[in-house]
Structures are given as structure tokens and as C-alpha cells.
């Protein structure tokens, strides 16, 4: 039975390592930053808010279509999901590596 459990854990570790790479790749693919819409004199103007180095920059984008804004909103939501999943996968890897390294009873 121990062999079965170990093999399942080893398989799960392999899966988690693969997932870590995939989530990192998926995060890189998402557009950076999020859109902030400011209302100036009754007109709406969009700014892309993103971190460049240590600073948070507001880059003027002008008027954006609803579709473009929606894309950024979706990316924001996915980024949060993927970051959460990545953190979960990293924890799994740590746990599984530790478990598989553990000494067997004599």
C-alpha cells in the first residue's frame, strides 16, 4: 500500500510542477496593469495603471472601447485567480517534496 501511495504522490508532484510552469506562462501572457477610468469635465479618459520597477505609473490611454476595457477587467480577474492557483501549487510542491523525502519506517 505504501508503494501505491508513494507513486500517487510522485505523480501528483509531477503534475504540480507542470502546473507551476503553466500558471507562470499564463500569467506572463496576460496584459500588464489595469485600466482606471477618470472623469474630467464630463468626459471619460482611461489610464493604464502598472508597476514599472518600484513605481506605479499611470499611462494615458485616451478613450478606450468597452471591449478593450472588458479585456483588461477579465485579465485582472484571471491574474488574481492564476496568482492564487500558483501560490496553491507552490505549497503543494513543497508539501509533496517533503512527504516523498520522508524516511520510511524500518
Amino acid at each position: 500500500m505504501r508503494g501505491v501511495i508513494k507513486s500517487v504522490l510522485a505523480e501528483e508532484l509531477e503534475n504540480s510542477i507542470r502546473m507551476k510552469k503553466e500558471y507562470e506562462k499564463a500569467l506572463k501572457k496576460l496584459p500588464e496593469g489595469c485600466i482606471s477610468v477618470k472623469k474630467i469635465k464630463g468626459h471619460k479618459y482611461c489610464y493604464l495603471v502598472k508597476r514599472i520597477g518600484k513605481k506605479v505609473k499611470h499611462i494615458y490611454k485616451g478613450k478606450m472601447s468597452k471591449k478593450e476595457i472588458k479585456e483588461y477587467e477579465e485579465a485582472k480577474m484571471l491574474r488574481a485567480k492564476y496568482r492564487n492557483s500558483l501560490a496553491q501549487v507552490k505549497k503543494q510542491i513543497k508539501f509533496l517534496r517533503g512527504t516523498l523525502r520522508g524516511k520510511e519506517a524500518v
Binding site: 500517487v8 505523480e11 496553491q88
Partner: protein, 229 residues
Amino acid sequence: MEKKQFKLCVEILKRFHKAGILKDFILIGSWCIYFYKEYFSDVSYTMQTAIMTRDIDFLIDQPEKIKKKVDVPELLKDLGFVTIFKGSQGYIKLDHPDLILEFIVREKGKGSNKPYPLSKLGMNAVPLRFLNFLSTQTIKVKVDNFYVNLPHPANFALHKIIISKRRTKEEKATKDRNAAVGILNALIKKDENDIIRSVFFSIPKKWQSRIISNLESFNEKNILNILNI
């Protein structure tokens, strides 16, 4: 199994149901063992023999009959699933820290190592042998307010016995054997020996002899007796 893993599984099934594609799928793999608990509610049925992984597999018995166009990766994207391409042939899997989703179809003829395209679902599927055995007799299990198709436990268990010897990893073979024997014993307790026998005698002689030799090597005399061998 973690509660959130089960919740995610139900959410996936619910979305498939709402999209109108759940009826085209048969849930196979170790998740069946969990859902069989309703079927075995009148006998003692423990899932200790089954070590569940994160893999959740769906068999599509007749992929050409899928009418609805549903982009499955898109349907599950907001749950945090990412699409991955596995191996040189590019089998598509949907990964999530709690579940790994994969579609499987029956392998026909000589077989091929290429994925089977499921263009209507935005996915592809892995063709595997002996799967018609799982789809010939199915049961429906109620989950939430909808039904999920599962292979009949007898078909599931005998299929596991056939494939256990084909496994390259010994541990996987042991896992298959433990799950199969656990389910067959639950069926015996449920007094469904006739069903085990009828499933056994409905399959080709070659498969029957494979089951017998595997059961003999597992020393499962009780089950062999049920089969009158």
C-alpha cells in the same frame, strides 16, 4: 478528498449540465468510486481502497453525436483552469490545482497515438482501448439537481481488472486491483452476483480469460466462485 475539490467537481458538472453537454459524457476513473456511494448506500461501502488523484476523466462514447458547440476551456476559464498540451502529440488537458480534466474516446481499429479532435468542444481526446466495456452499461447518479452518467460498477470493476495487468507501473496496477476488488465485493454484498456474471459473460472470450487469469493471480477465490470458475 478535500471539500473544495468536491465543490469544484460539482461546479464543473453543473456547468456541463447547463451547457447541455453532460448527457454526452460518462464520468470514468477514480472519481466514479466516490459517486458510487449512492449506488451502494444500502450496503457497507468504503472508499478506503481507492486512492483518488486529481484526474477527472470523461469518456465520450459517441463524439460524432455531440450536437452543441461549447468551448469547454472557455467555459471553465474563470474557475482558474489553464489549458495545457501534453506530449509531442498535443493532448489537451485542463489543469487546476485541485483537478485535472481530460477527455477520452474509444480507440477503434488498429489504434493511433494521435489525439481525437473534439472540435465542437474546443478540446481533443485521448483514444484508449477497452472503453466500450465501460459505456455498454451505465447508471445515472443524482448530483445536486442533475444526473451524471457512470459506468455500472460491475463494468467498471471488471474493466479495472483487465487493464491492471496492462499497466507499466506496478503501483498503478495495485491501485486498479484494490479498487476493482473493493467494488466487486460491494456488489456481492448487495447481492448483485447475477449482474457481475452477466457482464462477465457478455464480453469477448479473450477478455474473459484475461479477467480470470488476473483474478487467479490476485488469489480472489471468492470472486472466481461467483463467476462459477
